[in-house]
């Protein structure tokens, strides 16, 4: 199969442009590594793959933003609209790049060179509009366009902004270093074997490469020989690879459509599975009540999982529904259709160690999606342990389906039970900002240092709204906490401020544990002192003093 002549539009540094930071030194980080940077940052010596600290060391005024594929995809939509003026068969590989087949369009627009110029100008205008909307003053890096045989060669051509003549792509590719394959583990081995360019890789025997490097190596070998990315699908794919759902009532929120997409994606994968196929191209179509429609074609590097399909649907529809008024639909979406465009043999994916568990979590995902449909996306939460001093701060609640941070609950849980319990009387050391960052990022560290945090056991009830109380000494005057972190007098009674002011004797107390948090930031600074009290009725509580007022924060129920 000869590769399809392809045009690729590439917007350099797209994540930075999407974040509206193209005109200043800025980086996008994922898992503490730089994944994208602006030209200004690169001029200061920032490189991809650096740690955040290293990048900040190169350039102190660097703006650091977290990775957000949804934001990138959303803001890329206007560029796709502009490119789709030339041919409707636009294929998105990832936000920041899209591809289209050249053949018909080139004939209509007067040759490949003329088409390339037209597409570049249209995409460039769209990018400038986006950058301006995102608040960037100077225009971002210009869009680049390249044409070559096959999407892989076209992507490289776009980086250089050249048009590779027909059927000379193999030659042109052979001088590229193997790193352009984007597979670090593989290229590392190839380098050590003395294979430095795609040409050298392509000269090897295909069977030998397959035997030594598996399907990944075979894939790289195909690319190096200038063949199409996907080998011919073996076996006949099922005829009907479309899953469609009519929506009544119409949905106008992307997350509601995401729930619908979950079912459709499962259905599609279920139909592909008996043939041993996996989808690498997905066509997402949506239609509204007023007849507006949006169709986008997504291409994945790896076969799509159900989750990946749903993400694509959500990105695309978010970009459409919340996009500029001109292109946004005027009514709710009434129909959603997913079509699998291209398949590859499914050569397996590492699943959960016990297959049963994976099946169970899929069932849970469906059920929870239904509850979210009933109550809203934010109503179903999952908890994660986080750093903090108070009982409420040690838990971070995340809406179901959203990304959890790095620190995983179970590990921290088991380590904290294993710790010795008697470690009382933490001095009220001031916490430093560096400490905090280390605590939040400390994945491997068992217990991040939180001076002033109460040791376990933690309270079983944490009152969502702290209950105002009064703590009185034997004479009936209020107890305070001095600047040196000591109680001004002995607490002897706790009076509930609401509900008739019933008073209970305090039989045991300990503390205070002062917490002077974020003192370097006047807006977020909080000074508190916590006290454990045991009451005469046998209940134990955690009370907290803030700005002269005692509140009941939690109960050891």
């Amino acid at each position: 199969m000869t590769p399809v002549r392809t045009l690729v539009v590439w917007c350099p540094d797209w994540p930075v442009v999407a974040a509206g930071l193209a005109d200043r030194p800025a980086v996008i980080v994922a898992a503490n590594r730089v994944v994208a940077s602006s030209a200004a940052a690169r001029a200061e010596g920032v490189r991809l793959g650096q740690r955040r600290r290293e990048a900040q060391g190169c350039c102190p005024e660097l703006v650091v933003v977290g990775e957000d594929p949804a934001r990138d995809a959303r803001s890329f939509e206007p560029v796709v609209v502009a490119v789709a003026e030339f041919t409707p068969q636009v294929e998105l590989t990832r936000p920041g790049a899209c591809a289209l087949p050249v053949r018909a369009a080139a004939r209509y627009f007067g040759g490949e060179a003329s088409l390339a110029v037209k597409v570049r100008d249209a995409a460039g205008a769209a990018v400038v509009a986006i950058a301006r909307a995102a608040g960037t003053t100077a225009p971002g890096p210009p869009c680049k366009v390249g044409i070559a045989d096959g999407p892989f060669a076209a992507r490289l051509a776009a980086r250089e902004g050249v048009i590779v003549p027909r059927s000379s792509s193999v030659e042109w590719l052979s001088h590229f270093p193997v790193e352009v394959l984007g597979r670090p583990e593989l290229t590392d081995v190839l380098r050590r074997l003395g294979i430095g360019t795609l040409g050298e890789l392509g000269e090897l025997d295909e069977a030998a490469v397959l035997a030594r490097f598996g399907s990944e190596g075979g894939f790289a070998h195909r690319l190096a020989r200038g063949l199409d990315e996907r080998p011919l699908a073996l076996g006949n794919p099922p005829a009907d690879l479309t899953a469609c759902r009519e929506l009544d009532p119409p949905a106008d929120r992307a997350d509601a459509l995401g729930f619908v997409a979950v079912g459709l994606a499962e259905e599609l994968l279920g139909r592909l599975a008996p043939y041993g196929l996996a989808a690498t191209q997905l066509l997402v179509e949506a239609e509204t009540e007023h007849g507006e429609s949006l169709r986008r074609c997504w291409r994945g590097d790896r076969p799509f999982t159900a989750r990946a399909m749903v993400d694509r649907v959500r990105w695309q529809l978010e970009g459409w529904l919340q996009g500029p008024v001109i292109t946004a639909p005027t009514a709710g979406v009434t129909m959603l259709r997913l079509t699998v465009g291209d398949t590859v043999p499914d050569d397996g994916r590492q699943m959960d160690f016990e297959g049963g568990l994976a099946e169970a979590s899929r069932q849970v995902e469906r059920g929870v999606a239904r509850v979210q449909g009933l109550l809203g996306h934010e109503a179903v939460l999952i908890a994660q342990r986080a750093g903090g001093r108070g009982p409420a701060e040690q838990i971070r609640l995340v809406a179901w389906g959203e990304e959890l941070g790095g620190d995983h609950g179970a590990k921290a849980a088991s380590s904290s039970t294993a710790r010795p319990k008697k470690e009382r009387g933490q001095a009220s050391r001031r916490s430093r900002p560096g400490r905090r960052a280390a605590g939040a990022a400390g994945k491997d560290r068992e217990v991040p240092p939180w001076p002033g945090r109460l040791p376990p056991p933690s309270p079983a009830l944490v009152h969502p709204v702290p209950v105002p109380v009064e703590i009185l000494d034997p004479d009936g005057s209020p107890v305070g906490v001095s600047g040196r972190g000591r109680c001004t007098s002995v607490p002897s009674h706790l009076v509930l401020a609401v509900g008739g002011g019933s008073s209970v004797a305090i039989t045991g107390w300990s503390g205070p544990w002062p917490a002077d948090e974020r003192w370097w930031d006047p807006a977020a600074a909080r000074r508190r002192a916590r006290l454990q009290v045991l009451l005469a009725d046998g209940t134990a509580h955690l009370v907290v003093l803030e700005q002269g007022k005692w509140c009941l924060e939690a109960t050891y129920d």
Partner: protein, 284 residues
């Protein structure tokens, strides 16, 4: 584990051998007068923490059953003042400190074994404490506010179809028809419904001074059937003195009763932070 734990246990009512009470699978002690109710097959129970296994028939929560976590029956209690009168026919709800901890222990038992759990209607649950008891928080789905009348029923029944253990704290008295329907749904799907009904007045002050006027107004919210009833008889803290020390050790005396195999209530004492084994007090 059972023998070492029970070596120091007090004499048991009825003089039955101690190890017959720890009803783990394969632990049916031979040669006692009455055949003990055989342990349920493992698939029919949800795991609890090993420390609690002796309390539950079959060594776990019954799948398809309803477990009521509520105040222990007010009979002869050495604990808690009985103040005022109460509506005829209703037993005086007693304060039950420690009930939330029981709930957390049950959550820890199931989620740490990889079972999915859901908690409905408890925004005040201390999840740090749950994690310290060993719960795997990534397997606990939280629905703090299940919505108004007419909504929560479908939320709870959807979750019963989905996860293995649903802990539900009703915000208002549940109608008997709804209660029966939910229990039937659990039975049908083989999941366990734990109803957390401490008979406290709701609101921010849950767990506070539930004696006096407020306690008299508080009534049990779950009218329906329950296969097991789990309560806390007694609770005490130690380690905190006047001005020094730390709440470090808690003693709980839990009681589990109910229908069928659990018709004779079992009581056991456990410590938090958890000891390796629980002391089983009696099976009266």
């Amino acid at each position: 584990m059972a023998t070492s734990a029970l070596a120091g246990a007090p004499a048991l009512a009825g003089g039955r051998p101690a190890d017959s009470i720890v009803a783990g699978p394969g632990l049916s002690a031979p040669g006692h007068s009455r055949p003990s109710p055989g342990p349920l097959p493992r698939e029919r129970v949800l795991p609890v923490l090993p420390q609690l296994a002796g309390l539950f028939p079959g060594g776990g929560l019954p799948r398809g059953g309803t477990v009521l976590l509520g105040p222990a029956q007010a009979t002869d209690t050495p604990f808690g003042p009985r103040s005022g009168t109460c509506a005829p026919g209703l037993s005086q709800p007693r304060r039950a400190p420690g009930l939330t901890s029981m709930l957390l222990l049950l959550l820890a038992g199931s989620s740490s074994k990889g079972h999915w759990c859901a908690v409905v209607g408890l925004p005040e649950l201390g999840l740090t404490a749950a994690a310290e008891m060993g719960a795997d928080l990534s397997r606990v789905v939280l629905v703090p506010r299940p919505g108004s009348e007419g909504r929560w029923q479908s939320v709870v029944s959807t979750l019963l179809e989905t996860v293995d253990l649903v802990c539900f704290a009703p915000g208002s008295p549940v109608r008997p028809t709804d209660a029966r329907r939910l229990a039937a749904r659990a039975r049908e799907r083989g999941s366990t419904l734990v109803v957390f009904d401490p008979a406290f007045p709701s609101g921010a002050a849950r767990g506070l001074f539930p004696t006096g006027e407020r306690a008299r107004r508080a009534v049990a919210r779950w009218p329906g059937p329950s296969d097991l009833r789990c309560g806390v008889k007694e609770s005490s803290w130690s380690g905190l003195e006047s001005g020094h020390g730390l709440l470090s050790l808690r003693q709980l005396e839990a009681e589990v009763g109910g229908r069928g195999a659990a018709s004779r209530p079992r009581r056991g004492r456990l410590q938090i932070p958890l000891e390796p084994v629980m002391t089983l007090l009696s099976q009266s």
